[in-house]
Symmetry: C2
């Protein structure tokens, strides 16, 4: 029996005249003659040409969009445009039927809303499969970058007993019987009866644990799921998303920014090479979609060009103070066009401000650093001005914040003051403080949201379309 | 200013006579003269030799186990045994103190129990850091293997609304107020008020979702955290652990077993090359530990030899029927030495039976396949005998089951019967059944527990010591 091979192999190792066996799903079947077959191994369909007079009518009737076939035939030079080779079919075996009246994924344009309701089948579309191939290759590029730069991969815990991070609302994890929650004498929930003997949640960040590992292994990173129980029904928020968090001993803020910029450029460049076909397809898709928009809402640059811009240009670096002055003196601020006017030093920037800086003022990715301490987390290193901390955010066109990071406070006394000021119980952080007691060193790190980066690379408009099975308020289907 | 470099670089790119700056933590400080410094970049400490007469007494008093230093000095050929180069120290800067009376990680042997209580600091020990380096390199080897073999990496959801898998007890995920759980008119919990509008749990496996992606992308794999809320306080169980689940369209059971064997050998071989030093260190550690055991409880082969045995020998493949006959006719069964005697066909094998097959009878990894359908999951493909399913388990010496997999039932009618028989609600699995309605194809997959494989490679005795921050009953510290 002839062993079946991947369609990708047929495109890559052309042996004209060779007899091959392939499996796949029918994308289209035209004129009783041209079957476009896809097996997932690459973006392109393989055209399989049949002489319908040689085949049984029953078999022909079973070749519908979505049905699965085994085809044996000969590789020949393609007669049509756009493909190098095609198959002249000798034998067809129908593996699985697909009723054309019922199959949801028809060979036509579907709305992304409809596809989300069929998240188990949408991977069979060209757009979603291109996005998910990019997601896969991007994940690999991330591991490759860190491995080649001597970082160790650390699996920080998903279930956490700590709630001191304050990065957002958390999901509770429990095995208590919700019909009959056990209470103690004081009528408080008796968590000693819960699985872990205490209250536990899903992690919002692996940073604190990653710090403990950086102070032993030097350079580490996490890459795992994180969670926010926030009722944000937007195109940029997920309740469950994947985050990458590198953490480096002996790194100061500037080293941290340098690494983040090098990292982002390197992985995007890697993807641009590996997934060129997918990116060109998605770039064209976006271009067509934007034709329906008024001209001023279209992107100035095509997706392809935006990606190259990021790879080839230095990110702009400005302090919070500089950003504040630019925004304060900006035309939209003076003309009262911002929903949140810029007046008092110390306010947090809103999405509208970030977009102005990135998309209007600099037209480039922008790193803003040295933020006011009041609007940033307790673990960020205080500057000598006692007002700002060594935080940095990287802002991307069309996406907003894609990276948030900082140099961490390594001085035990300063950290303790900060914790006390915020009324966090020191006992909750005993082990985190230990890291400052025994051989404390300067260290830094950042977090990158995987889905936001995929949004940038794919030009997709909704974060729910760049993760296989999105989790959002009122939605945990599949 | 001299830029600091990683200690790993000093060992790899020796430039005798070069002046270097290094950072790290003191492992030991002997005779006021020899500082063993480690920065996490590699397993080996770098010996730094000081002339104590040239340094301030205060500085010398601050050089203790655990304190962090910046050292500037010259690379010279080592005078001592066991290392190629050392540093003649010119300058020392103490970065962070470590009180020798308080620092938990003293330069002596600590029990693993003690180290678990200090999981934030145990990464600074040679044993745990060796294990975690292997964990990191192994994870990378896994991604590399799949990427090079044209698999796509899929992030299946962690929070799941489905409870149809039956792989084990699940953790509930909720944002309901446990002090005041909302009820509906029928006094049932009103999950419509919960974050996702329904009951949700932490996933026990990404398999079902991975199947949906395999039927679009061809070959996929997951690599992520999975959860079991089982009250198993053993050295082989974790409530939170990492699993790798490849899923391949068009694969039958034999292809599946072939892939699993090739995969395991390939990644272990990769690790054996990349982490040779760590493995030799851990092999010696285990050898010493086993000297305290009676001779019949020691391993016949050293860790190093066991690893090579797996790389270089074919796994034994037997059916459940064959395994059953071997066990039934075995000496321990005849002499009533098994806790669970082997008599009736159809029973599930216990750990004692698996160990007999692997460690006594075959002295090799063993693949057992074609299990009775009654003891296996609903999604496994029924054989023509109507009694067995195309399941396979891979059993490893000292570990037991390390891989569980199967060919999946691709026939809609057979699958529906199986589901009905088990009283699972078809509606729960509507999307999973859809995969059999539209272009169904043969497909297969397996799951590999990352921590069990690390146990095998490192020779560690307790699964809590091969994951950074273990989650077990009554324990979610850090």
């Amino acid at each position: 029996m002839l062993n079946s091979i991947d369609i990708k192999n047929i495109f890559q190792n052309i042996n004209l005249g060779e007899k091959v066996s392939i499996n796949g799903w029918v994308r289209t079947f035209r004129s009783n003659r041209f079957i476009n077959l896809n097996d997932g191994s690459c973006m392109e369909d393989l055209q399989c040409v049949i002489d319908f007079e040689k085949f049984d009518k029953k078999i022909l009737s079973e070749i519908n969009t979505g049905s699965s076939l085994n085809i044996i035939g000969e590789v020949v030079e393609s007669q049509g445009r756009g493909q190098s080779v095609e198959i002249v079919v000798n034998e067809i075996r129908v593996l699985g039927l697909s009723n054309p009246d019922q199959y949801p994924i028809q060979p036509k344009k579907h709305s992304f809303e409809f596809l989300r309701e069929n998240a188990h089948l949408r991977i069979r579309t060209k757009t979603i499969s291109s996005v998910m191939r990019i997601r896969s290759e991007l994940s690999y590029a991330i591991h490759k970058f860190f491995n080649e730069n001597n970082f160790y991969y650390v699996h920080t815990p998903i279930i956490t007993g700590s709630d001191a991070e304050g990065a957002g609302e958390m999901f509770k994890v429990s095995t208590l019987d919700l019909n009959n929650v056990p209470k103690n004498e004081n009528e408080e929930i008796d968590f000693s009866k819960d699985f872990f003997g205490k209250e536990t949640n899903l992690t919002v960040s692996g940073q604190l644990e990653a710090e403990s590992y950086a102070l032993g292994l030097g350079k580490v990173y996490t890459f795992g799921p994180t969670f926010r129980a926030e009722n944000s029904n937007t195109s940029r928020h997920l309740a469950e998303f994947w985050m990458i968090e590198p953490e480096m001993a002996f790194y100061e803020l500037e080293d941290n920014i340098n690494l983040a910029e090098k990292f982002i450029k390197s992985i995007i460049q890697n993807i641009y090479k590996k997934c060129k076909k997918e990116i060109m397809f998605l770039s064209e898709r976006l271009f067509k979609e934007e034709q329906n928009l008024p001209k001023n809402e279209r992107n100035e640059m095509s997706l392809d060009k935006r990606i190259n811009f990021v790879i080839n240009n230095d990110f702009i670096r400005i302090t919070y103070n500089e950003a504040f002055e630019i925004l304060k003196n900006s035309t939209p601020n003076k003309k009262n066009k911002f929903k949140y006017p810029i007046s008092e030093w110390g306010i947090d920037f809103q999405s509208e401000h970030e977009r102005f800086l990135v998309e209007k003022h600099f037209k480039s990715p922008v790193v803003v650093y040295n933020y006011p301490s009041k609007i940033k987390a307790f673990y960020m290193r205080l500057n000598d001005d006692n007002k700002t901390v060594r935080a940095m955010d990287i802002l991307f066109p069309g996406i907003g914040e894609i990276v948030g990071g900082s140099q961490r406070e390594e001085r035990l006394d300063v950290l303790k003051k900060r914790i006390a000021h915020l009324n966090i119980d020191e006992k909750e952080l005993w082990w985190y403080l230990d890291l400052r007691k025994y051989g404390s060193v300067k260290h830094s790190g950042f977090g990158l949201g995987l889905e936001r980066l995929i949004l940038f690379i794919t030009g997709m408009g909704n974060i729910r379309d760049v993760i296989p099975f999105p989790r959002t308020p009122k939605n945990a289907e599949f």
